[in-house]
Amino acid sequence: MPPLALYIHWPFCLAKCPYCDFNSHVRERIDAAGFIAALRAELAFEGARLGRRPLGSIFFGGGTPSLMAPADVAALIADARRVFAPRDDLEITLEANPTSVEAGKLADFRAAGVNRLSLGVQSLDPAALAFLGRRHSAGQAIAALESARRIFPRLSFDLIYARPGQTLPAWRAELRAALALAADHLSLYQLTIEPGTAFATAHARGEIVLPEGEEAAALYEATGAEAAGAGLLPYEVSNYARPGAESRHNLAYWRYGDYAGIGPGAHGRLTLRGEIVATRRHRAPEIWAERVGRFGHGSVAETPLSPLERGREMLLMGLRLAEGLDPAGFARRTGRPLAEAIDAEILRQAEAAGYLAWEGGRLVALPAGRLRLDALLAALCR
């Protein structure tokens, strides 16, 4: 079994971004000590039931985990190292925003043990940053990137493109500027409208119109070409890295490995007693903390997955990766042969259309297939 991945969710933000549907909350005062204690309790809970399994990665996500005190991050890392069996190359990622307050803490996070920083830059265009509701300037983002590059051995940042009115040349220019600043990893997301967000309301009113269809496809293809030009390859739909610099933590999701998720709203997939169990924590931070106090964990659902469900999950994650799926690994992990999990006729058509291919014995979604992966999966999955 591949090593465990550990996800730690810090649910608080200074402000809610209008596009974000992650489990994030804005509070005037936060009982940080209480929440850290609850996270440590959950870590202990997972350790107790999983045993000292090899640990490959830790990921502090949010919310805005860079709002945490570096000492608290250090404490959680120390707990994880004690509870599990950390691998020598343990990857520890923290998501951070490039505001001045957070940027000032970067060295302390490095000292706490974080060895990979993921900066939420989102754009280098001032107007776009305002539209996206970000609290930092382009200048701050560049400054934060430069200091992070000195501090952390590994660095990634996010950009959001295919924004309303964004032209292909404008995006190319912005992306080139970003690639010049990039280290070894970039997450490049097309803006999507998620239900329940401020953008969803504006979109429903027709105030936001996104590039769609051919236009969105052209932006996506240009993104891949520019990134490749800078030596970053699309190892996943929206993630680009120099070979070897991929996010090992996120690869655990896409390769459908075991991951423990702690903190409000965190999800996990854990092999327990021969089954794959989907775990889900209560989303509301206060209720979650209260439950951890009472039960030792804030889990609200622990659902064993059927081979059918496992197969679907592994397919929908695995085909996002450039490396695709290995049929033997698929059958081992899901309990279902790959040939049974997919529609043979759709596979045949998809191969003919250049969407899917067998490469070195692995089923791979080619770039044209990855571009249409949702529709492809809906047809392909049985």
């Binding site: 991945a5 996800y7 992650f22 489990n23 997301y189 097309q190 803006l191 999507t192 769609e212 269809g213 051919e214 969105a216 496809a217 996506y220 739909v237 929206s238 996120n250 999701y253 896409w254 991951y259 998720g261 709203g265 965190a266 999800h267 996990g268 997939r269 989907a278 889900r280 469900e309 679907r312 999950e313 929908l316 994650m317 996002r320 006729e345 058509q349 998809a350 259309a353 969407y355 990855r370 571009l371 249409r372 992966l373 949702d374 529709a375 492809l376 999966l377 809906a378 047809a379 999955c381």
Partner: protein, 615 residues
């Protein structure tokens, strides 16, 4: 639900035979939609006190529960008014409300046959319309005395003199003593009532002769069974009497007789000249043919009344449940509708594209719409209707002749000697300025001009047209080229041989049976191209590209390609998203069940419906 009142509360004597023939007037009102028929009927009911003010609501005949229960305008209905005329005598006036649409021309003719006269109501600001014309000719044919009534004379735009002249020119009626009224304000309603008494003839008939009663209409009542609307010509109808339907030979015993006031009021019997109802424990209206003659079983009449015609559907289409699980419910609902509407037919049908459904026959397009609407509204059914088809007559090379009302059933061209299609004679009235466009439309639809006359600034075009061309969006086009000013009416006008072909629609090389249609060879390519283009616009891009073709036999006459969708992938997908993403996938798979499968292509219900609607 309206139950028969007891005789005691009735304003009428219990023995209707007390009403001498000379004290009866039976009349219909002929009017174009919105020319004021319902309002005039209300005023007449009001003026004669048939309903108290408390009971009086706007447009009684249109909104009475019994009418709603029976569905809109399909059925005739009647109201008996008691009127004390200026001559001091009291008259029974039977107002026959006829269905007002071309689809029900035969039903209208039977309602008119139950009367001796008609009021021709014309909007004094609008003038005569095509539908009025068709009905007034029917009334003339039925031997009616006709009293022209000019309505809405209170409107500033009223031009009674122009409309008088128009009626004289177009219909040839003397309008010197036309009654000028405003049904809305109630102006001169008394004049109408007097005209009915003094200018319309009383009915004739022999109370001692063998029974002859015209079956005007019938409907199903959950409590009483079938209620039959009758007009007695000779003899009497009375409770306990054994009657025989002359066309079907069915024998029943009368349970109740009565009249409408407008509520059902029981009466001991119905004599010559009277219009009323009977019930006889009949379970379905299919046993009661409109226009049939009811006679006494013991002493039957020698010959039935003239004019009976069995009802024959002229337009057919397939009806399928959107949700295949609703098939049984659809069967049951069709059965229940037919209890009350014998003019529509249905038989089970299977389509590769649509699954199990029914092939249904209707008197016309409006009838089709009404039935569809009732199935949706009253039975909560979500339906797919295939494009309407007329009834073609196929002559095979082996001499066999058969009717064809489903394009999918068209035999191979090699076994067909010839095909005949039904034609209609259409009357279109249109303001001058749109005439050119209307004539162009008629010619484009293979029309043959029979007559073209002008009345003032309105033109009346009479055309022979293939019915096939009319069911194909003719109404919509007519409305659009005339900005809604053209009025249209038609009657069936026989069959004629024609060069017809079946056009198949293929999606990724597989024919979609539900989209096949029959057209004249000259229109095949245009129409095939139009439907391919429409499908291209309606079908959203999918994972794989889709080829859409129209073909006659093996020859492709039009093609379109829908390219693959350009991009459809979730940008962000991490640990927490797996469950959500899987559930979304599962929902999508569930949604696919509501797609229609065409070969290997799934088409959303909405796109398919839209393709059929305009097809």
């Amino acid at each position: 639900m309206i139950l028969a009142d007891s005789g005691a509360e009735s304003p009428y004597p219990s023995r209707m035979t007390d009403t001498a023939l000379r004290h009866i007037r039976n009349f219909a009102i002929i009017a174009h939609i919105d020319h004021g028929k319902s309002t005039l009927a209300d005023r007449l009911i009001e003026a004669t006190g048939a309903l108290s003010n408390r009971e009086m609501t706007e447009q009684v005949l249109d909104t009475m529960e019994i009418e709603r229960e029976r569905g809109i305008t399909i059925k005739a209905q009647t109201v008996r008014l008691s009127y004390k005329a200026r001559d001091g005598e009291t008259y029974a006036l039977n107002l026959m409300d006829t269905p007002g649409h071309v689809d029900f021309a035969y039903e209208v003719s039977r309602s008119l046959a139950a009367c001796e006269g008609s009021l021709l109501v014309v909007d004094a600001s609008q003038g005569v319309e095509a539908q009025t014309l068709a009905n007034v000719y029917q009334a003339i044919e039925a031997g009616h005395e006709i009293v022209p009534v000019l309505n809405k004379i209170d409107l500033p735009a009223a031009e009674p003199e122009r409309v008088r002249r128009q009626i004289e020119d177009v219909i040839g009626l003397d309008t010197s003593d036309a009654v000028l009224i405003s049904a809305k304000t109630g102006h001169n309603i008394a004049g109408v009532l007097e005209a009915i008494v003094t200018r319309l003839p009383p009915p004739q008939g022999d109370p001692e002769a063998p029974l002859k009663a015209l079956l005007v209409d019938s409907w199903y009542d959950a409590y009483l069974g079938v209620v039959i609307l009758v007009r007695v010509k000779d003899g009497r109808l009375a409770r306990g009497q054994k009657i025989r339907m002359m066309a079907t030979g069915a024998v029943h015993v009368i349970e109740q007789t009565g009249v409408f006031s407008p509520r059902m009021v029981a009466a001991a019997d119905l004599g010559p000249g009277e219009i009323g109802y009977i019930t006889a424990g009949i379970k379905t209206v299919a046993d009661c043919r409109i226009g049939d003659t009811i006679t006494e079983d013991r002493r039957p009449a020698e010959a039935p009344l003239p004019g009976f015609k069995p009802s024959v559907p002229v337009v057919w289409c397939g009806l399928y449940p959107v949700d295949a699980d609703d098939f049984e419910k659809l069967r049951e609902s069709l059965g229940r509708l037919r209890l009350n509407d014998a003019s529509f037919h249905y038989e089970p049908e299977t389509s590769a594209a649509l699954g199990f459904g029914f092939r249904c026959g209707f008197l016309g397009l409006l009838h089709l719409e009404i039935v569809q609407e009732r199935l949706a509204r009253e039975f909560g059914l979500d339906l797919i209707a295939t494009a309407p088809s007329v009834v073609y007559r196929i002559h095979r090379t082996n001499g066999q002749v058969a009717d064809l009302h489903n394009p999918a059933d068209m035999p191979d061209g090699s076994v067909i000697d010839k095909i005949e299609e039904p034609w209609i004679k259409a009357t279109i009235m249109v303001p001058d300025e749109y005439l050119g466009a209307v004539l162009h439309l008629c010619n484009e639809r293979r029309g043959q001009q029979v007559d073209l006359t002008y009345v003032g600034n309105r033109a009346m075009a009479v055309y022979r047209l293939p019915l096939n061309e009319v069911v194909f969006d003719f109404y919509d086009r007519l409305k659009s080229v005339s900005r809604g000013y053209a009025s249209f009416d038609y009657q069936m006008d026989g069959y004629a041989e024609s060069d017809l072909v079946r056009i198949s629609i293929l999606v990724n090389a597989e024919p979609v049976d539900a989209l096949a249609f029959i057209a004249h060879r000259s229109a095949a390519e245009t129409r095939g191209r139009a439907i391919c283009q429409r499908l291209k616009d309606l079908i959203p891009k999918q994972l794989f590209k889709i080829a859409i073709q129209a073909a006659i036999g093996g020859r492709v006459i039009a093609r379109e390609t829908i390219g693959a969708l350009a991009k459809d992938v979730t940008a962000k997908c991490y640990g927490g998203d797996i469950s959500r993403k899987r559930k979304l996938l599962e929902k999508q798979k569930e949604g696919k069940k509501r797609m229609r499968q065409f070969g290997k292509v799934e088409i959303p219900q909405s796109a398919f419906l839209a393709a059929l609607k305009t097809g």
